[in-house]
């Protein structure tokens, strides 16, 4: 069949008729995107918390730990994916490896800073009151470190939402795929919808987590610095 003109506008950046016609696909891509983000940050947290706890106590370990994770950070995700695919295939696992690695630096750094930020006199007072080292760690330091940890999760989440788009290049059916497909065909609406949804998800996640941060720390009136 030959149409007299394109079904959707080629010049408009957002042709709503395409959006309404494709809500199913858009919804599926969004869900995939969210799943990957949550998995990446979740796994990142599971790995970072123990690592940070260990490094918090051993100053010597900090520098190498932060250096290695920092180094991982600078390796462009595209390169990492390219190297991994022959080994781990086209799975979600392959996509998750760089995503999780990139959250590690942010989370570890923030958790350590959080633990460090507990004032020395508070620790002394607790020791004076008979708290053991472990008790101090778990009942005083960690709770007081929560704002920094949540701040870290916030940043990690926003970053990850963006990074997930790159995994579309190995077939992950998320919003990145809308972007790439739209770009390939010169279809601005498809590209724009992908981009806008990614931004919206990131912003909403940021707002929700900052609300969580405020909720979890009623004693801090300070504006978060990150």
């Amino acid at each position: 069949m030959i149409l007299a003109q394109p079904r959707y506008s080629r010049d408009s950046w957002l042709d709503w008729s395409w959006v309404t016609d494709n809500t199913d696909d858009i919804y599926a891509a969004t869900r995939e995107h969210l799943v990957l983000t949550v998995l990446a940050v979740g796994i990142g947290l599971l790995i970072s918390i123990p690592l940070a706890l260990v490094a918090a106590d051993r100053r010597r370990l900090r520098a190498p730990l932060l250096s290695v994770t920092g180094l991982l950070y600078t390796v462009p995700s595209l390169a990492l994916l390219g190297v991994l695919v022959p080994y781990t295939g086209l799975s979600r696992t392959t996509a998750l490896i760089p995503l999780v690695s990139y959250t590690l630096l942010i989370l570890i750094r923030n958790i350590i800073e959080g633990l460090d930020s507990v004032p020395g006199d508070v620790r002394e007072a607790a020791a004076g009151m008979g708290y053991t080292r472990r008790a101090i760690r778990w009942r005083i330091e960690l709770p007081l470190a929560v704002p920094a940890i949540v701040a870290g999760v916030r940043i990690a989440t926003v970053t990850t939402v963006g990074l997930v788009t790159v995994t579309s290049l190995i077939g992950q059916a998320n919003l990145g795929q809308l972007m790439v497909s739209g770009f390939q065909r010169g279809f601005r609406t498809e590209l724009m919808v992908g981009v806008l949804l990614v931004v919206i998800i990131a912003v909403v996640a940021d707002l929700v987590l900052s609300g969580l941060q405020r909720f979890a720390t009623p004693w801090t009136r300070r504006r978060a610095t990150s």
């Binding site: 149409l3 920092g70 295939g89 190995i170 497909s181 390939q184």
Partner: protein, 328 residues
Amino acid sequence: MRPTWTKLLALLLGLTLVAAACGDSDSDDGDADTEATEAAGDDGGDADTGVLEFRALDAGGPITKEALSAGDIDVALLFTSDADIAVNGWVLLDDDQGLQQIENLTPAIRTEVLTPEIETVLDAVSAPLTTAELTELNRQSTQDLIDADEIAATWLESQGIIPWAGDPVDGSIRVGSTNFFEQEIVAELYAGALESAGMTVSRTFQLGAREVVAPALESGEIDLYPEYLGTYSVFAGAESVPSDAAEAADQLRGLLEDRGVTVLTPAPAEDRNGLVVTQETADTYGLSATSDLAGVTDVLTFGGPPECPDRDFCLIGLTEVYGLTFQE
């Protein structure tokens, strides 16, 4: 806190790199930026003509096409079934020396999954698929902005392939495609037909490049995807590709035997690499075939995929077969 370790690391890397720069040079193979100075073919042509400057862009994709439109490049390597060529009024240079190999659309499938019934369905899809038909399907995607599944469904119906009237086929199958709209359309053709025949089809599309999707087929992550006869043959290790599709397919089957993969009957439709110029460029230099480039005195800019310098169909072939010279 951090500085000591990072400083050491940086120093170490710095020393390594400095040492490298002063080290012995290796005789290296296939260095991407060596000038292809051999102008094969002693037809007495000047070294001054037929010189092109190469720019690495994307493989016949939006960046290359945009560059051609905007005049950033004079000659572009595109794909012959791309509807945008005709829509933009561009000129496809004739491959008069026969450099490009045949590139029929051929289903690549895992031998384990293949049954005669599946083959029947896929042959039914391939048979009526000509280059003209394929180009029109592409046009619907990039110009009319219709989605691949709809384009596929409409075509299958119009050809009477669906609803499938032959023997039903059971089982499930996973269809894949690379991240190229034409691939997605043809994969949808396969998928739609097999679905109509009764199979449960799952789709994994937009998988990077052949280097991603071919191993996925071999390792069993997908069962079926559309391939291009010539390029796939070379990828599988062929030294040369016969110009008859049936012969080429036989050769390919032999090469793929121990990988657990095979190819079915090729469709008539082909999608080759082609050199494309704007109408203006064609008029200015009198270009209608690739050989004409050898006589151009101005240095033209040629945009192609990053792997072009390593490819026979690209820089290497253009140098050896057409006597063109490339510079950076």
